[in-house]
Structures are given as structure tokens and as C-alpha cells.
């Protein structure tokens, strides 16, 4: 990630302001691209209902403004955004913000929990298998990582549902709460927690693999460095060598990965949400796509690009904070 205009002398604050200003044209460009690409797609929301008479369909097109030229529709949309109006979902007959707000947090809790677990497991196993390169543990981890990455998530999902929900009857089959449930307070959270176990487990299983490999590779790279030998020659404890001298260097490249997790936290997991019937934003995306509910899709995609830009900004600032070799001034 290149630091834009890093040749001048900036303080951190100036740098952040600069970066935020630079991201405005990027966001405008993105918004146009997103709008134009969706406009290019044939068909619209009216087409998704085949039972309408052609006359009624034409009336609706007129009503929704689908007949106007793309550029005009784009500026209508942008003008709406500046008024805090992100559009109206045809499918849900609600403002888009309301629809997204309603579902996104369901996805977020699953994502954030699996993210935290994934990173903890990946860091520990990655570091440990780098320390014991080519040991039985390392071979086992490597095998497991590739096995977990090779099996499609929907297959593991269905398999686990069969084993844990149907055969053993331990965990719910799907959904976020039991059918007809009206628990409140702590019991309600426990219930949601039980429903989350399987989806979180699968997301962790899928995410841990590649991240473990990243940490392991990065760690192996670092422990070969001269300064690790220096640390050893100083007579430091092995734990200090690994966790003080090696880990900090090994984690630097992981900052970029963490930055990309920011949009992923809110984007939902389309396949897993389908398999477990989880009322998350991933499902909403899929339905919106099926029903050509473009306002929802556009707003959501815009939101994710905004988060991506934000994530990159965070990463750059974090690098500057952690790595003394990168200075913004």
C-alpha cells in the first residue's frame, strides 16, 4: 500500500485529513461505476413480476422513474444520498437504510465472533507450526488447512447440520431463534448463541486455514533474519525471542489482511446464511439480486466500498504507528 504523497512533511493528523480528502473523488468515481454497472444490467424491478400486464408495467416504470436517462437517474440518486435518502427498496417497501440496518447486524455478530476466533486460532497455530516447522504438528496443521480450504462451505454446512442437528439433535437446524420462540433477556441471547454455533464454526474453519498459512509463512520469514540470531546470541529466553522480537515483525504484513476484514465484517456470508437460513445481509443481497431491487444492492455495494477505503486508511495509519521505518513526515 503506497502512502500517497508521502514525500512531503506531514504530521499524522494532516496525513489523515489528506487521505480523507483524497477518498472523496474515489468514492464519487466508485458511486458512478456502481450505478452505471447496475444500469447496464437488462431488466428492472418491474420485470421480476411476470403477472403484471404490459400496461401496468409501463405505468410502474413511469412511477419509479426507470424511463429516465441513466445520467439523470444517477444524479437523482446522488442528490438523494446528500439528503440522507439512500433510496427505497421495492421488494421490502421500506427505505433502504431501514432494510440494511435491520439485517446487517445479524451478519455482523456472526462475522465479528468468527473473526476474533479465527485470528486467535490462526495466530497461535501459525506461530507454533512455524516454530516446529516440518514437525508432526506442522504437517497436521498443513494437511488440515488444505483439507478445510478444499471442501466447499455449503457441503460442510449440510454435513454438520445432518450430524449435529438431525442425528444428534444437539443444535438447531437453522434460523436465528427457535420457531415461535418468545424468550427475553439472557435466555434470548443464549438461544441466538446456540443458533450461531454451527455458522460461526464453519466460518472459522474456512477462515483459519489461509490465515494460519499467512502467519506461518511470515513467521518463518522473520525467524531466519539476522536480528533473531542476535537476540539469541544475547542469551534471551526463547519465549522473548519469539513473542517480542519475531512476532511483532511477523504481524506487520497481517495488518493489510486485517484491513480487508473491515468490509467483510458487514458484507455477510451469502452461502452460509442460505444454508443455515440466517436472516443476515447476505440473504438480502441475494434476494435483491433475484428481484432486481437495485436501490438495496447499490447502497449496500457503496457502503462496502466506503468500508474498504476506510479499512485501507486504517491500515496505513496502523503501519505508521507500529513500524518505525514508515513515517508519514
Amino acid at each position: 500500500m503506497l502512502l500517497l504523497f508521502s514525500d512531503g512533511g506531514f504530521t499524522l493528523k494532516e496525513y489523515i485529513i489528506r487521505r480523507v480528502l483524497i477518498s472523496i473523488p474515489i468514492l464519487i468515481g466508485t458511486s458512478f461505476l456502481i450505478f452505471y454497472l447496475f444500469a447496464l444490467l437488462p431488466g428492472d424491478y418491474v420485470d421480476s413480476n411476470p403477472s403484471l400486464t404490459p400496461q401496468r408495467a409501463a405505468e410502474l416504470r413511469e412511477f419509479y422513474g426507470f424511463n429516465e436517462p441513466v445520467i439523470k437517474r444517477y444524479f437523482n440518486w446522488i442528490a438523494g444520498i446528500f439528503h440522507g435518502d439512500l433510496g427505497f427498496s421495492f421488494q421490502y417497501q421500506q427505505p433502504v437504510t431501514k432494510v440494511i440496518n435491520q439485517f446487517i447486524w445479524n451478519s455482523f455478530i456472526v462475522s465479528i465472533i468468527s473473526l476474533v476466533i479465527t485470528w486467535i486460532i490462526a495466530l497461535i497455530t501459525g506461530v507454533y507450526s512455524a516454530m516446529k516447522q516440518y514437525s508432526i504438528f506442522d504437517s497436521f496443521v498443513t494437511f488440515f488447512v488444505f483439507a478445510a480450504m478444499s471442501i466447499p462451505s455449503f457441503f460442510i454446512g449440510l454435513l454438520l447440520i445432518k450430524i449435529f442437528a438431525i442425528d444428534m439433535n444437539l443444535l438447531p437446524v437453522g434460523g436465528m431463534i427457535d420457531v415461535g420462540s418468545n424468550t427475553t433477556g439472557l435466555a434470548h441471547y443464549v438461544e441466538i448463541g446456540r443458533h450461531m454455533i454451527l455458522p460461526v464454526f464453519i466460518l472459522v474453519l474456512l477462515g483459519t486455514g489461509s490465515l494460519t498459512r499467512y502467519v506461518r509463512t511470515s513467521m518463518l520469514e522473520v525467524v531466519r533474519q539476522d536480528y533473531i540470531r542476535t537476540a539469541r546470541a544475547k542469551g534471551l529466553k526463547e519465549s522473548k525471542i519469539i513473542f517480542k522480537h519475531a512476532l511483532k515483525n511477523a504481524l506487520l504484513p497481517c495488518i493489510t489482511l486485517l484491513a480487508f476484514e473491515l468490509p467483510a465484517l458487514f458484507s455477510g456470508a451469502i452461502i452460509i446464511e442460505q444454508v443455515f437460513n440466517w436472516p443476515g445481509i447476505g440473504q438480502v443481497q441475494l434476494e435483491s439480486l433475484n428481484n432486481r431491487d437495485y436501490p438495496v444492492l447499490m447502497t449496500f455495494t457503496m457502503f462496502l466500498s466506503f468500508l474498504t477505503i476506510l479499512g485501507n486508511l486504517f491500515a496505513d495509519v496502523a503501519y505508521a504507528a507500529v513500524d518505525p521505518r514508515i513515517r508519514l513526515k
Partner: protein
Amino acid sequence: MATPLLEIKDLQTTFYTEHGSVKASNHVNVTVNKGEIVCLVGESGCGKSVTAMSIMKLIEAPGVIEGGQILFQDQDILTLGNKALRNLRGNDIAMIFQEPMSALNPVYTIGDQMMEPLLQHTKLSKNEAYDKCIELMEKVGLSRTKQLMKSYPHELSGGMLQRIMIAIALSCDPKLIIADEPTTALDVTIQAQILEILKEINKELQTSILFITHDLGVVAEMADRVVVMYAGKVVEEGTVLEIFKEPKHPYTKGLLHAKPVINKFQERLYTIPGQVPDLSTLGDHCFFQDRCEYRMDICGQSMPALTSESTTHCVACWLYKEAPRKEGLKI
């Protein structure tokens, strides 16, 4: 004679690679007495650094120390447990490496890294350790010390970093400093300064130094005694005068011959013909025989042992075998 500070006896360090096993340190014997500077000389890949690393047990896979003893103050380092070994590293024996630029951790300050061995090996408090670091930096000729303590390695030049490395090495008053080509990565004027510092330390504190280099100029400058290595074996050993005035082994002669001499016009510098043999495919013969101009029949059949020519000078070459053979090597 007092027992030597460090005695490497019959050290065998082997690297197991895909292309066979490489005996990087092949039955090596080196002795370092108290207050002495011993230079370990040889071409790249002759096992100098491996021998040095073995002393600190810093050899990493696929390398294995397979045999021999490393007696430091009469204690065999190779049999020490992890804890005892840690107490030795950086404390009794300190090491200075070839590349000062990469030898310090880029994400921690100089001060942090200088204080580490002090906090590990001594009972000094953080403040006392800080003061000691300032003192050490001044000793190795650094100024603006307080500012340097807060700097990161990338903000310093190679020469400054090597001074820092020397200061770190000195911090716990070691009895032995192993300097593994400490001046190779530096330019000549800085080299001279670094060598000067090391010599001063040796004089002032009676610290023994095992100096690894391929630069004979440095050897002449520094050494009390010289050990010449070739292809993992010690081929000649003697005082600096003996080695420079009357080198015995054809390899040592070749090395000295390959040095430019001031005021003497030479079209081209002499080079030893051929190259260092592949250490993984050596048989039972003198390893230098294919490059040697004095080659005899016996050289291709059997390996000459290191034998004494005088009390301080010994050589492993068939050319000198008519002399009465003395077993063992006592200096």
C-alpha cells in the same frame, strides 16, 4: 601454562542438505587464551562462521554439531542445558556479526535492544541499565547518546550500528568476544575505526577476541595468533609473525601471495587456481591437492594430520612430514 579460555576440540559440525552431508567444521581444533586475539582466516565457505556459531550453539537446522568438545573455562558448552547456555550467551561470550544493518531488530529502539542483555544477565534496574548503555556508547565512540537511545536502527549508518553491536557485546563484560567478519560490510575508514575499538577493548579489559575474517590486512593488524582454515579443516596455525614471515602450507602461501603489495608493480594479482571443492563429495585425501602446486602422490591418497613445526606453529601438509611427527597440539 594456564588452561586456555576457550578450547575447541575436534569439533564436527555437519549440514545435512539435499545434496548430501556437508562437513562445514571437520575435526577443528582452535584454542583461545585469555587476553589473546585469535584470527580465523579462510575463503568464503571454508567453515569459519560455522565454527564460530558452534561455539555459541547457534547452529540451526539442517546443521548439527555431531562431535567434539567446546571447553569454555573448562566447561563443555555442548553439554550445557538451555538455561546454562543462555547464561553464557551475551554474558560470558558475546558475538558481533557481519551485517550490522540487519543484526538489529527494525521495530525496537536502539536503547531497548541495548538494555536487553543487561536486564537479562545483570541485576541492574532499568535506570541503571540506561546509564550503563550511555556509558558503553561513549566507550565505543558514539556521541549524542541520549538521542541514539531513542532512535531506530534504520536511522543509523552501518558504522554506527556496528559500534552499537560492539557496545551490546561489551555490556555484560564478556570474557570472550566472537567477531564474525565485523568489518566486511563497512567501508575502509570505518573498518579501521572499528578494528581500533576492538583492539582497545582487548588491551584495556583483557577480553579475548576470536576474530573471523578473510581479509589478511585485518589479520596483520589484529591477530596475536592465526588459524587458517580450508574446506572445513584447520590447515595451518601459528603466531601472526610465523604465518606472515614463513607460511608453510601452500594454501597459506597462496593467500599471502594473492595480496597486493604496496610499491610493487603487478600486472595482475596472483590467484590460487581452481576453487574450493564441494564439501559434500570429499574423500580421504588432502582437500587442497587439486589446487596445490606442490602436489605429491601421497596427497591424493591420504589426509595429512596437523603436526607441530615449533611450539606455536603447526601445519597439515605432506611437504613437512619428514620432520619428526609430534602427536597432539599444545600451545
